[in-house]
């Protein structure tokens, strides 16, 4: 199936772009729906509770809040626990692992998509300290995977054109576009989305993909823009504020001199330290959580979410009492305190004409909290005490929430925590040298957000561009870059990013881009372990079945024996999945001699060997053969990949790894440099490579 006509190539290209188009459209619509649901549910919830608080019906307010939050969080956790456990967490590590070649079951299944979308509405609207950003990336990747396989096989939706798309690379590319679309949908940042996919998510990047990802994110922003325009007349309830640039502070002048360097560097250092501390503590907590979930049933997950939800609600109701009542500023356009919608100033228990600054942070939807913290020209809106309390709460809740079995994103919690101390730094600067420093507190808050994002997630260019597209303030770019460089450097000195840590904690065999120093001291031969399992080019059916049952290898070397000279030649490599197709097709030979007139290739079409979509696929237990069939032979010649990539056994592991990782291989044949009677020594695979320590040698399949 290497020969395709011109028309087929055109069809293929058209298909690629059509699929990218569909991914963009559907991601945009999904994001819009999620936004609409969250803003309305949690907006009305908070308004109602706020109303009761003002009316002095505190017990009622408290119970309504607790019950609503618990119900929303529970609905999310029940879905995760019983329907799709893969939908827990942010999903970015999983998508990253998938694009690295780890085909974990259910990561991109339709039910995961469903639970992710519904569950993230539940967990965010339910007052847990999570964002919808990570889940959106995962959802968009699921959408891409579903579209790429033409819907789910289980639901009998398929499309014949898609046969060109049944391969790993095209699917991987489409899912990369999906991830970019997800980030774009979350932050309304088309360029940032592409860069995020490039910097954080993908393992293999081609520059043609840059363009397609860009096309997808452009579409997402068009869809979002359309949605926002539609909602701008207030027909979408509480949704609608923000426009295409969520936290627009683009009209603020950024004047900074050398005096700003000190606080900016400090912010970078603080962000780096807090970030790697976060990763460290969260790692311990995650280990505990994983053990808890693995050793107990789904009920434990639900109990877990219940506890976290109750803690969150308790803090939410309890903390605002610590806030002060502050007189409303008189020189602003906004109504103060805001009662009708979530806004800058929350009255809580204060008299009219005053607002509670801590409640303004706590009793708000995430987006409005960030907007409050980033708001410029509001120098005295918050007091140190309130900011400090809120920061501690936010850091603590983010730590215990990330890892609970609900769809939960980490972006916004991290951004909010960072913005809090950033804003405090700005207030300190203003009090120290009134007049000398011209940078607004809101801008310091942006820098603080950047620093914690850099310290926790260790991205640079993409965070920079995402923040740029969120705030629309280009003049802040140099300072943002500086902060990010510092915080990422400090974080990288100590540990992995939060996402990489999850990949490692889950024990996924993630292949890093770079080789490790120890690999230079090993040759391909050194890491040779278990005995090699090979097949003859014409093999008895019984043997094939036996080997497939006995081992769980994914590929087998096929050896051609020349009985005259008694030499063995490595004919090629055959995949387990192809062997299963052959066994199910039952085109067997009665004797071991090759009959040239009998052409088994006619029975099989290329599409039979195409990689199936998500799901487990066929296993050897699905194949039933009778005794006579077991005695027959199968000719593997036509179905073997006759020119697998090979390396010599004397090659250093580092060089072999470079080939393996660079070409995204799953199997690499190791052949002897000096002929010793048998043409293959082993097969190198990514599995068994201990990811946690990166110190144990690779294992050899067969």
């Amino acid at each position: 199936w290497r020969t395709r006509s011109r028309a087929q190539i055109l069809q293929y290209i058209l298909l690629k772009w059509t699929l990218a188009f569909l991914v963009g459209i559907f991601t945009g619509i999904t994001a819009f729906t999620i936004n609409l649901a969250i803003e309305n549910i949690s907006g009305y919830k908070l308004l109602k509770v706020n109303e009761y608080f003002q009316a002095d019906r505190i017990a009622l307010a408290f119970s309504i809040l607790t019950v609503t939050n618990l119900l929303l969080a529970l609905s999310s956790s029940i879905l995760v626990a019983y329907v799709a456990p893969a939908a827990a967490g942010s999903g970015i590590p999983e998508v990253k692992a998938y694009l690295n070649g780890i085909d974990a079951p259910d990561i991109l299944a339709p039910k995961t998509l469903f639970v992710k979308v519904v569950g993230s509405i539940g967990s965010v609207a339910g007052g847990l300290d999570t964002g919808k950003e990570g889940p959106l990336v995962h959802s968009a990747s699921c959408i891409a995977a579903l579209i790429g396989q033409g819907g789910s096989k289980r639901y009998h939706i398929s499309w014949s054109w898609l046969r060109y798309f049944k391969n790993d690379r095209d699917r991987r590319d489409l899912i990369t576009c999906g991830a970019a679309a997800g980030v774009c949908a979350a932050f309304r940042s088309p360029v940032g989305g592409v860069l995020f996919a490039l910097e954080e998510v993908t393992s293999w990047w081609r520059s043609s993909l840059l363009w397609r990802a860009f096309f997808t994110t452009a579409l997402v922003s068009v869809v979002l823009q359309t949605g926002i325009m539609y909602c701008s007349d207030g027909s979408c309830g509480l949704f609608g504020s923000g426009g295409l640039i969520i936290y627009n502070i683009g009209d603020v002048s950024v004047n900074f001199g050398l005096v700003e360097l000190l606080p900016v560097v400090t912010l970078g250092v603080v962000g780096g330290v807090l970030g790697c501390l976060f990763t460290f503590i969260n790692g311990r907590i995650l280990r505990f959580y994983f053990a808890l979930h693995n050793n107990n049933g789904p009920m434990m997950k639900i109990l877990h979410v219940t506890i976290v939800s109750l803690i969150s609600t308790a803090l939410m109701v309890g903390l605002p009492w610590l806030g002060d009542c502050i007189d409303c500023p008189t020189d602003i356009d906004e109504t103060c305190p805001t009662t009708e919608r979530s806004g800058n100033f929350k009255q809580f228990r204060c008299p009219d004409g005053q607002y509670n600054d801590l409640a303004s942070l706590i009793f708000n939807v995430n987006d409005d909290v960030v907007r409050n913290l980033f708001s410029v020209g509001t120098a005295n809106e918050f007091k140190y005490k309130s900011l400090l309390i809120y920061m501690a709460q936010s850091y603590f809740l983010a730590l215990i929430t990330y890892g609970t079995p609900v769809p939960s994103g980490l972006f916004l919690p991290v951004m909010i925590t960072g913005a809090t101390y950033g804003r405090m730094a700005g207030m300190v600067m203003r009090s120290l040298n009134s007049g000398l420093s011209e940078l607004d507190e809101g801008l310091y808050a942006v820098l603080g957000a950047a620093s914690f994002l850099g310290g926790a997630m260790r991205m640079t260019v993409s965070i920079c561009v995402i923040l740029l597209e969120l705030t629309n303030n280009l003049f802040l770019l140099p300072l943002t870059m500086l902060v990010l460089l510092i915080s990422k450097t400090i974080g990288d000195l100590f540990n992995y990013s939060v996402f990489d840590q999850i990949v490692h904690l889950k024990g996924l065999p993630y292949l890093e881009e770079h080789t490790e120093p120890y690999m230079k001291h090993l040759t391909a031969l050194d890491v040779c372990g278990s005995p090699l399992v090979t097949l003859s080019a014409v093999e008895s059916v019984e043997n094939v079945v036996d080997i497939l049952q006995r081992t769980n290898h994914h590929a087998f070397p096929v050896i051609d024996d020349d009985e005259v000279t008694n030499t063995h030649i490595l004919y090629g490599l055959i995949l387990r999945s192809h062997l299963l197709v052959l066994l199910r097709g039952k085109q067997f030979l009665s004797s071991k001699t090759m009959v040239s007139s009998f052409d088994s290739t006619k029975t099989f079409k290329p599409i039979d060997f195409a990689k199936p979509g998500s799901g487990k696929g066929v296993t050897i237990n699905d194949v039933s053969l009778d005794v006579n069939e077991l005695k027959m032979f199968v000719d593997l010649h036509p179905f073997t990949n006759t020119s697998p990539y090979t390396v010599l056994d004397t090659m250093s592991l580092a060089k072999a790894y470079a080939l393996f990782r660079g070409l995204a291989l799953r199997h690499l044949c190791v052949v002897p440099k000096i002929e010793n009677g048998f043409p293959i020594v082993g097969i190198l695979t990514p599995f068994g490579c201990n990811v946690e320590s990166f110190r144990k040698p690779w294992t050899w399949e067969s």
Copy 2:
């Protein structure tokens, strides 16, 4: 030299960042110097000439302009013709080719840097229709190359730490950072610079490089910012306008609806068509130019530049007479007509209180032309006639100028041409539906610039971000993306981008990222051509010298012969450069038998085999051996790469190419699948692969 201590690794990492730091600083300073020189020279020139025009001394004005332009252009062309021919053109194709592995002489030599910097000042200030952007990218890459090799060997500047840096990959990475820094310096766009390097320049990208490139561009913008702050009090002559965002139109609101889609799509189509037409015509012109230069001496180059300079000056003086005198608008802050500096309104031959719209475009430095075209709220500043004339002139001059033997960039000419028709489209829209369309003419001009850039250069994300950082208008992003997608698609249907075309016209063996369809139908064996030249593991000096003289291959397979069993083993691959080092070291054996006590590795240090910097290096003619030495033997065992990458001769060329291109190899050994007495069939190299048609099979070295 695989074993390095921890301290050495730290030293290496520190070195990488220090070098990136230096590249950023020096690029920033260079860009600042170039800007300062150009703005002042051409600014004062234009002011003076304008003064004479108004004083009715037309002949004097004309002669001053002609002579100044000619002198400046000639100085540039003399430098190029006699000192560094490699400094001609924009340099982006050459840097791109270098990073693809093409080590063309002098591309990144110190003299090229010198000529590029001085020459680009001459050609831009000399009124040729070129920009300084491409040359800046090339200059920055030269700076990176120079810093990477620790200064030039010829000038005896070197540094022992740099021994860790004498390899292809680190040098390539640093030059990629340099290219990013160059773009950042040209457009003051740190993110755009990184993306440009990623999308257009580099062939192998690692995500760790993203971060380092980002660091470099951040430094460049800090240096530029410092320079601009220093100049803001007017101490730098005419330089200083623009700030860090060159064409700031960020404060303009962007309201667009469906009615804008038609003109925007039209702009995309026009840009695509004009772009690929430009590439086509420019290709013809370049072919003619190249023939002209190759068949004649340097004098022809100087004559060539003289003619182009005279044509440019004639158009510059002649065309403004066709412009109309327009009353100065009264509702603006700016002085009109501007006389003291280059600005929006040029009086030319008009009475006081009026300005000549065509002269305002022609009698201005490039940056101010773009600023004029992008200017918002100036709906009736230009008439259709003037814009049309200016567009034709700009298109024509760009066509004949790109390819003249001076440092010349294409970015600004293309941007200006595009902005012209973009602005016209905006004016049409305004006249058609006053009130319906809210988009300003200046924004249409930006979209026009995007469309022509996309059509000619075929980049997407990087142009988008560069335009964003140039104009600081995030709201325009979705429209810019749309325009770029359309224009690039249309352009790609017909031909290569302008940069790729030059790579092809120069016949450089550029390795594309993707495989060509025909490669699937060939095996590695099929493209096997000329006879194989191998060396024995212990080879006579005479043979080595003979082979090095007879062939120009860069690597030779080393065969170990087992004389007992009469079998041959592929011991490894040795590089020509290493053989030359061995011959010059003269550690020969007197007989062919290996003497284990004699260890020739002690004589050589790893640094001896390190890749030298730019320049030709040693050739076989530099090695002088007497007759006795020629009769001796050399043991190649310790110096051979014992585990080269290999492919089987039955592998399809497409798969072999994927390995070759993916791992950035220069040589790939092809070994027989079926043992036929000799362990190697040939070596695959990038040379001889006909780049123009991509249809001729690859050749085999040896």
